[in-house]
């Protein structure tokens, strides 16, 4: 039992808590943000497990780029909806 044992267990519990929170939340934006924080916690765990290579990669890829891609998808979907609405309005105006 090292000195970091307690800290590690707290981090593991936080990981499981984040995973369950993603499962239960209704808002997609919240889900993505919780997933990004999940990746950051994972990054601290890699450092505690003496693998700094993995920590750097996980911080850049998991928390940074994966999260950005998810957010981009959400934004694309919203733009799609907005474009649809504008098109409908234009059609109505054209009919008049």
């Amino acid at each position: 039992m090292g000195s970091t044992e307690g800290f590690r267990i707290v981090l593991l519990l936080l990981l499981i808590g984040c995973a369950i929170a993603v499962n239960l939340t209704k808002n997609l934006m919240q889900a993505v943000i919780i997933f990004m924080s999940y990746s950051s916690i994972m990054c601290i765990l890699w450092i505690l497990m003496e693998s700094p290579d993995l920590a750097i990669t996980e911080a850049a890829v998991g928390a940074g780029i994966s999260g950005t891609l998810f957010l981009m998808t959400l934004k694309k979907i919203k733009a799609e909806d907005a474009g649809e609405n504008e098109k409908k309005i234009k059609k109505k105006k054209g009919k008049r």
């Binding site: 693998s51 700094p52 290579d53 920590a55 750097i56 990669t57 850049a60 890829v61 940074g64 780029i65 950005t68 891609l69 981009m72 998808t73 934004k75 694309k76 919203k78 733009a79 799609e80 907005a82 474009g83 649809e84 504008e86 098109k87 234009k90």
Partner: protein, 265 residues
Amino acid sequence: MKKVFDRFYNLIAVICCLLLIGVLLYAVSLLPSYGEENPRSVEVVERYVEHGLEETGATNIVAGMILDYRAFDTLGESHVLFTALICVIILLGKDKKNMRREYDSYYTVEAESYHLLQTDTIVRLVGYVLLPGLFLFGIYILLNGQLSPGGGFSGGAIMGAALIIFAVAFGFETVDRVFTEKLLKTVTFVALSFYSFAKGYVFFTGANGIDNHIPKGVPGAILSGGLILPLDIAVGFVVACTMFGFYSLFRRGSIGHDITFMDQQ
């Protein structure tokens, strides 16, 4: 009918999940304890740790492992990234074949206005402060892969993230002046083919027992580790290009400034 099916599906799914977790937990309870050395895995590790420095010249044993002993693994992986980029180009790229009637609404001008980057003053100022450090950090990690934690994947991912922040802060027009689609394709192609040929040469000479004349250098110096540094740079460029390509394709449907599309408008 649907309700019955749903209930049945849920029941089966719950049983499957519980069974899976139970079986896996039982397997974990039979594993050796956490934090102790598994005596069955010693042989390979011994080779990597005790002969790694003299055979590869890299101080970082993980880098020496993934770019020298297991270089084919990494080659396949960079090709996985390249293939993923091609798939995303096929799925999200803007071109004539992609703009059939049912998808037409997506690329109309109205929807396009939501894709324009609003260059915010705060974001731009943060970009001025942050970007030089980010690029420098990425290049530092890329070049020191054989000495310290890091290497191609992490350095490339940081450089890709820096390019993404550049695009967010200063708009795609600024990035397009330097980083065109042609440059991205050229860099990826040159890096991948360099990796293939360099490693193919080393494997060929190694298999036939010929000396490959690649200097190992002094362990601890920046120019050490034989082929590890150039291969790291190649992998890093591929990763950076792929990450920026993903972002750009998700954001606007093309990598560089797309002239043909603008003419159609």
